[in-house]
């Protein structure tokens, strides 16, 4: 049986041949930029991580052999995973609502979403500090209402990091999900309803499977961005749950240990690229195409 997608698109080799020399020339400035400002620095970091303070894999051994550092790795993954799950849980209903609401309303919501994205990151993070601190608006309100007697510890811990980062990551999951959900014909959901599916069944058996490619790419983007996040964890997190980016900053800025800093950065890069490769493998080709 021949798949439609296989018939319609040329094989990879043929596609490569379609790239003409002229088109390639146009990509030179971008490639140069990447080489000078990304690939060369990364290579230099790689070099320093195996050369400083002495040649060898000593830095990597120190990094992966210490429970303190492994804990930071683990914490980085836990925070990123938590942020990804919470972002998905909040982002999916928002994306769905955006897809079905009248366009006048949705453009307002989009404006709010984008405005918050364009606001300076530090400003937004400090705003969360103000909201979340012991004497902040949230604690004061809850105490004023008599719901709690002691202020909740909302900042300088995992809660603070999760709240702050979820807020920052939301647009990155809402936008791709919105794109996918909007393409789903509402009549398909009507058909599901007439087939006897409850709202829950229509959601879990039809809408979510159809939105899966958007969910995966959005979730991966959030997860990867979270892995390397610095400002928000540094300001809203505590010393007990340091993240990898903070560790790297500490190595380089406080300890001036470029070797260890480079090793940590490269471990992060390798993890990120691996995840990206897995996603490409699973969802990269237009597998869900054709409606």
């Amino acid at each position: 049986m021949v798949l439609l997608t296989e018939r319609d698109s040329p094989p990879p080799a043929a596609r490569l041949r379609l790239v003409r020399p002229m088109n390639f020339a146009l990509t030179v400035p971008a490639l140069l930029l990447l080489v000078v400002f990304f690939i060369l620095p990364v290579l230099s970091l790689l070099l320093r991580s195996v050369m400083e303070p002495e040649p060898g894999l000593g830095n990597y051994a120190a990094l992966l052999g210490s429970t303190t550092y492994l804990k930071i790795f683990l914490n980085t993954f836990v925070v990123s995973a938590l942020v990804t799950v919470v972002t998905l849980a909040i982002g999916f209903p928002v994306a769905w609502a955006l897809a079905i609401m009248p366009s006048r309303l949705s453009s307002i919501v989009f404006a709010i979403l984008l405005l918050s994205m364009w606001t300076n990151l530090l400003t937004r993070t400090y705003a969360w500090m103000v909201l979340l601190q012991r004497t902040g608006v949230i604690n004061k309100t809850l105490m004023g209402l008599g719901l709690i007697s002691e202020p909740l510890p909302l900042v300088n811990n995992l809660t603070g990091v999760t709240i702050g980062m979820t807020y920052i990551m939301l647009p990155f999951i809402i936008l791709p999900l919105y794109g996918v959900i909007r393409k789903i014909d509402p009549a398909i959901l009507q058909a599901a309803a007439l087939c006897g599916a409850t709202r829950w069944q229509a959601l879990t058996r039809v809408l979510i499977p159809l939105a899966a490619p958007g969910m995966v790419s959005g979730a991966l983007m959030v997860f990867v961005m979270s892995l390397g996040y610095f400002v928000t964890p540094a300001l809203l997190g505590g010393t007990a749950n340091m993240m990898l980016a903070e560790l790297i900053a500490q190595f380089v800025q406080s300890l001036v240990n470029w070797g260890m800093g480079g090793a940590a950065a490269l471990v992060l890069l390798v993890v990120t690229l691996t995840l990206y490769a897995i996603q490409l493998r699973l969802f990269g080709t237009a597998r869900m195409e054709g409606r």
């Binding site: 049986m1 014909d185 058909a191 007439l194 006897g196 409850t198 409606r291």
Partner: protein
């Protein structure tokens, strides 16, 4: 009591009324078609039946019980949509099994039913295909199988063939007729295509501006259209302006132009003497001759404006003396037609009893 009753159904969208006052009863096993142009309220009525829209007023009774407060997923009604609505992530077999799975039927029962349904729509061996790998016609047949898998008492079809080309459409019309006969399911079918309506239906409800103008079998609608709209929509028709001279017992004497008087034409819509009206003629019931057609028939003088050969019949376009464009359909081999040319003066004859007058 009738199987399905629609009572005084009304649907307003703000200041726009999509369905004004629809009343209809459908018998068990009947094939009922809603025929009308877009915006006539036929689809809205169907969507209210499906539970996608709430009526502003009125009621729908299925087997004596009101459906209005039952949500779509509990109505147990089948539906085939205009657009392709198979679940793209599921195979053909899984699509047909979907309504059975959400009803939590045992697996063996589901498998047997899926097989039976594939056989019904003649798509055995296709269960592992994805919808995207099938043609439009095949997809709609799967949609039909999915909609019938749970033995719904009523099947709704919303212009299911409008995305298909003519030949395929006719093929699937035959399939639908066969499946209707085999399953004896009650079908409500929406279309704007009169030929499709005539081919498929036991009865047709002609929708116009949110109400049903007339309900009847195809021949009834064709022979005795209740309104000018029905006459225009079912079959081809010619209209000639006329004046009512006198009206009695559903028949009218009329005058056309200054000289022609025709007596005893069936009249609809109750016009008074002296009022303007329209005389409706069927193109295939007009006879054509040079000069006068003869005693007992009425004659309209006209000038031939165009002649088109369409295989089994010949289409003659003519302009009446009073200015109206008329069309005449003559069988292939018709004597007068063979020598006819543009600009020829002809007389068009008809039997007054088979014509209709609609008061303006």
């Amino acid at each position: 009591m009738s199987f399905l009753q629609i009572r005084a159904l009304r649907k307003d969208y703000g200041i726009v009324t999509a369905v004004r006052d629809v009343n209809l009863t459908v018998e068990r096993g009947e094939f009922m078609t809603f025929l009308g142009p877009s915006g006539s309220g036929k689809s809205t009525t169907l969507y209210i039946l499906a539970g996608f829209e709430n009526p502003t007023a009125g009621d729908i009774l299925l087997d004596g019980e009101s459906l209005i407060s039952t949500p779509s997923h509990k109505r147990n009604i089948g539906m085939v949509f205009q657009r392709y609505t198979l679940f793209p992530h599921l195979s053909v077999g899984e699509n047909i099994a979907f309504p059975l799975k959400v009803r939590r039927l045992p697996k063996a029962e589901i498998d047997a039913k899926v097989k039976k349904m594939l056989k019904l729509v003649r798509l055995e061996g296709f269960e592992d295909r994805k919808p995207a790998q099938m043609s439009g016609g095949q997809q709609q047949r799967v949609a039909l199988a999915r909609a019938l898998a749970y033995d719904p008492p009523v099947l709704l079809m919303d212009e299911p063939l409008s995305a298909l080309d003519k030949k395929l459409r006719e093929e699937i019309q035959h399939e639908i007729r066969r499946i209707h006969q085999e399953t004896e399911v009650t079908i409500l079918y929406v279309t704007h295509d009169q030929e499709e309506a005539l081919r498929l239906s036991d009865r047709i409800a002609v929708f116009s501006r949110g109400v049903i103008d007339q309900i009847g079998t195809g021949p009834e609608l064709y022979a005795n259209p209740a309104t000018r709209f029905v006459a225009e929509f079912v079959g081809d028709s010619d209209f000639v302006d006329c004046r009512i001279l006198s009206a009695q017992n559903g028949r009218a004497d009329i005058s056309i132009g200054s000289s022609l008087t025709i007596r005893g034409v069936p009249m609809h819509g109750g016009g008074a003497a002296g009022g303007m009206a329209a005389l409706m003629l069927r193109p295939e019931r007009l006879s054509l001759a040079r000069g006068s057609v003869g005693e007992g028939t009425a004659n309209l003088a006209a000038t031939v404006t165009d002649i088109a050969f369409l295989g089994s019949n010949i289409h003659v376009a003519a302009a009446a003396e009073t200015g109206e464009a008329l069309s005449v359909r003559l069988p292939f081999g018709h004597e007068a037609a063979s020598s006819l040319a543009r600009g020829d003066m002809v007389s068009l004859g008809f039997d007054p009893a088979s014509a209709h007058v609609f008061s303006a």
